[in-house]
């Protein structure tokens, strides 16, 4: 028995060494592999906090690197997650540039004074209605609110005329929303901006009663398509993307544009800005200049994204309903109050 134990001790020691060595080697290899991609260029690498769709963000980054040689490291997240993260990080924030899907997170940063003024040439590339009055962020894309509905469950003559009707009792369990997402939160902020706090608060409480909450716009569209729910509030491009591919998840659905300056016709502006604390301010400014330039907006227009370009007069994809026909409410995108919307949604229990 003792002999076997001592034998175990001896073989055990060599085994420990082998195991330790191989673990160290593999860990080192994996770490080097992860770091290797970042080095090897004379241009600095800028850090992008990206709340835009991952794929679109990558297409822009690739186009920018190709044009300028500047590399971009990307941290993906959601609008308010990354905005609040930047605020929590303060001056030490690793972020140079921030892109959002919607403007409220941008205006939050603007109000806290952490965004740097943008180059005049960049600002000139974007019309005033799609940028911050404080000139510290610009629109990089726009998207329209729509009601996606299943005509077999919701005939056209029963469609609501305003997004405000969705809080009425007849919509109980018949409407899908993605309450946790920045998209829907931006739409709520538009309702507050257009209809005032009292009416909007009441609407939100009604929606809490009526709505089925989904994880995102695509699950809503799928549920409407599958007939699980008659209608849902989403942005236009999810539907057009699916139609452009196979139409498999949208074939039983149609879109209703509210128009008529209704809060439900809200056109949300995706924003881009440079942090005051940026380690590479010049390169960061170039990134935003690129996004809003002809070539940057062309990337957007030609991509699968199907969002509306807003800069350098680049036309949208012809399949889309033209931006000029949407008749959205006139809202200064920098006045939308995201923090208030979040606390209001917490109050009624949607968050």
């Amino acid at each position: 028995m003792w002999r076997s134990r001592l034998g175990a001790v001896r073989t055990g020691r060599t085994r420990i060494r082998t195991i330790v060595a191989s673990v160290a080697a593999i860990t080192l290899a994996a770490t080097l592999g992860a770091c290797g991609s970042a080095s090897g260029s004379s241009e600095p690498t800028i850090t992008l906090y990206n709340a835009q769709h991952k794929e679109l963000g990558r297409e822009w980054v690739d186009g920018f690197t190709k044009e300028t040689g500047i590399k971009v490291e990307v941290r993906d997240g959601k609008d308010f997650e990354l905005a609040n993260q930047i605020l929590a990080e303060g001056d030490a924030s690793p972020a140079d540039v921030f892109l959002t899907e919607n403007s409220p997170a941008m205006s939050l940063l603007s109000s806290k004074g952490v965004l740097a003024p943008l180059d005049a040439a960049t600002i000139a590339q974007v019309p005033a209605r799609y940028r911050s009055g404080a000139e510290d962020w610009v629109g990089i894309a726009a998207r329209s609110t729509v009601l996606v509905y299943n005509p077999s469950l919701l005939p056209a003559d029963q469609l609501p005329n305003s997004i405000m009707e969705l809080s009425q009792p007849q919509w109980k369990d018949r409407i899908g929303i993605a309450a946790g997402g920045a998209d829907f939160q931006a739409i709520v902020s538009a309702v507050y901006a257009v209809n005032g706090d009292a009416a909007a608060g009441e609407w939100l409480a009604g929606l809490k009663q009526n709505a089925r909450v989904y994880q995102g716009n695509i699950p809503i569209m799928n549920a409407v398509n599958a007939g699980e729910i008659p209608a849902g509030v989403i942005y236009h491009y999810y539907w057009y993307r699916d139609r452009a591919e196979s139409g498999q998840d949208s074939k039983n659905t149609e879109l209703k544009y509210f128009g008529d300056k209704d809060a439900g016709a809200f056109v949300s502006v995706s924003g881009g800005g440079v942090l005051r604390s940026a380690k590479h301010p010049a390169e960061a400014q170039r990134f935003i200049a690129y996004l809003t330039s002809k070539s940057g907006q062309q990337v957007l227009a030609e991509s699968y994204a199907l969002e509306y370009p807003v800069g350098s007069d680049v036309p949208a994809n012809k399949a889309l309903k033209p931006l000029s026909e949407l008749d959205p409410p006139a809202i200064d995108p920098n006045t939308l109050n995201g923090s208030k919307v979040i606390s209001e949604m917490q109050r009624v229990g949607l968050l």
Partner: protein, 522 residues
């Protein structure tokens, strides 16, 4: 034999010796590290004050989450207990044909992460959304946590008790409930506790099934506020839930004695004859294996073949797989190293100090990943910017989360090593550190390996802490699967799920082999 005599002479091994200072200090540091998340939540809730806390907690949403979470934990635990025990009993104690096959199949769902399972189901039918679906799918994913310990006890149980009960006139059911079940109680409760903790921490599966609980709500809050007050307050409630489960299990387990003196005669129980019930039992087992394992695997295969977004970016898949393996190995290595001092003290220096140090790591390990991540991200951004957004912080979070897995395996292995070997080595002139490195560690290598495999498995499928703490530009198989599948790009997500299962398989195989060896010894 010699160990038995020695144990009889020195019943309280080493208890009166002084604690070795270096190991004690190391164990204290590790315990402190693992208590950071709990401390963070407590300090935050106290600092917010009662008024703010009331505003954030006394709102309809919290009531809704509380109802959902407690209903899910209650139903999921009950269902897992019934399914796990039933399957274990059928496999171990009846004439069910094909026992080796069932033994392998019943534990296999552990290799399929719950969030992969639920996405498989959701992609086929929306009927699984909501409470009933959440109970069904979490049960299918987590019943092995009950099945495995119950199987082990059933195998080691002396059949004499049952036979005695039958000779005293008790029927088979009465015998099961009055004789078998009480002996299963500690293992069953331990398994159910694990299921409960997993349910409290589950994020991906429940998000996919549209069933909000505290954990999914905290994540939603994180996405809307980063480290907002509401998120941390919800985390406080969740922590309370975990602690309640821990205490509840301790009280239910009670002090009833289930062990006995002497090993008894080594004898296999005569299996209960199922007779005419055999087809039904086979059908039930096949249904369980089919639902828990067949459905997700078939759907995964279908995504890979026909998914409209299916793509195999080989370079990216390879890089992300290597990242996951790297984190898995680093997490396993760090966790095992950190577990050594606490485990060693708790075996070799029994006393309240070592017990507190050991147990404190269990509390941290019972907290959901989202709570640990929230604490780490907030503390790092405020006080430790050097490690903020680095792999170091993420691996440290893994170590805190999965310490109990390493601790339990290591403790069990250490308890088997006779302390006389240490003494002999010392007498022969080895230094204490030399004894640990050259004598003790080689002897516990197998236990260390089991612990490392358990941690590796957990790290590879970890989602929430990784989402919050991963360095900029770093993706793991779990996060990449999650980001694709949550935008319903199932085909694009499928290769990452497949790789997760592939790299988990060796560790899972190692564990099954180890547990079979354990049973063979018993």
């Amino acid at each position: 034999m010699s160990t038995g005599v020695a144990a009889a002479i020195r019943p309280r091994v080493g208890s009166r010796r002084a604690y070795p200072p270096v190991r004690l200090a190391a164990a204290v540091v590790v315990a402190a590290l693992t208590l950071i998340p709990l401390g963070y939540v407590l300090v935050f809730v106290i600092a917010e004050g009662p008024a703010q806390a009331a505003e954030l907690l006394l709102r309809p949403r919290v009531g809704e989450l509380l109802r959902n979470t407690s209903a899910l934990v209650a139903a999921g635990c009950a269902a897992s207990a019934v399914v796990g025990t039933g399957a274990a009993w059928l496999v171990e104690r009846t004439s069910l044909p094909g026992r080796p096959v069932w033994t392998a199949l019943m534990a296999a769902p552990l290799a399929v992460p719950a969030f992969v399972n639920s996405y498989g189901w959701v992609s086929v039918t929306a009927a699984v959304e909501g409470f009933a679906g959440a109970v069904l799918i979490t049960t299918l994913s987590y019943y092995p946590l009950v099945y495995l310990p119950v199987t082990a006890v059933l195998r080691g149980m002396d059949p004499a008790f049952e036979e005695l009960s039958r000779t005293l006139g008790n029927g088979p059911w009465r015998t099961f409930f009055r004789v078998v079940l009480p002996q299963l109680r500690p293992a069953l409760l331990g398994g159910v506790l694990l299921v409960g903790l997993h349910l409290l921490a589950e994020f991906g599966a429940l998000q996919a099934l549209r069933f909000p609980t505290f954990t999914t709500a905290i994540y939603d809050q994180f996405e809307s506020t980063f480290n907002g007050a509401a998120a941390t307050m919800l985390a406080g409630v969740l922590v309370l839930g975990c602690l309640l489960l821990l205490v509840g299990e301790l009280r239910l387990a009670g002090r009833a004695r289930v062990s006995r003196v002497g090993g008894g005669a080594a004898r296999t129980a005569v299996p209960h004859r199922l007779g005419a019930l055999t087809p039904f039992a086979l059908l039930a087992m096949a249904a369980l294996a089919g639902l828990a394992l067949g459905v997700p695997l078939v759907i995964l295969g279908r995504w890979l073949v026909v998914g409209s977004s299916t793509a195999f970016p080989i370079g990216q898949i390879t890089e992300i797989t290597l990242t996951s393996i790297g984190f898995g190995l680093a997490g396993a290595a760090l966790t095992c190293v950190l577990a050594v001092p606490g485990a060693w003290l708790s075996v070799r220096h029994r006393g309240w100090v070592s017990r507190v140090l050991e147990r404190s790591t269990y509390i941290a390990g019972s907290l959901p990943g989202i709570v640990v991540a929230l604490a780490f991200v907030t503390l790092a951004v405020g006080y430790l910017p050097v490690v903020y957004q680095t792999s170091i912080l993420l691996v440290a979070a893994y170590a805190v989360l999965f310490m109990p897995r390493a601790m339990v395996s290591l403790r069990a292995a250490l308890a088997q090593v006779p302390p006389e070997l240490d003494d002999s080595a010392r007498a022969l002139g080895a230094r204490p550190s030399g004894v640990l490195w050259r004598v003790t560690l080689p002897l516990v290598l197998r236990g260390l390996g089991t612990g490392a495999a358990l941690v590796f498995l957990a790290v590879v499928t970890e989602l929430t802490a990784t989402l919050l703490l991963a360095p900029t530009g770093t993706a793991t198989l779990a996060t990449e699967f999650w980001s694709n599948s949550s935008s319903l790009a199932y085909g694009a997500a499928a290769p990452y799920a497949l790789m997760m299962i592939v790299i988990s398989a060796p560790a899972a195989w190692l564990l099954t082999r180890e547990s079979r060896r354990e049973m063979g010894r018993a």
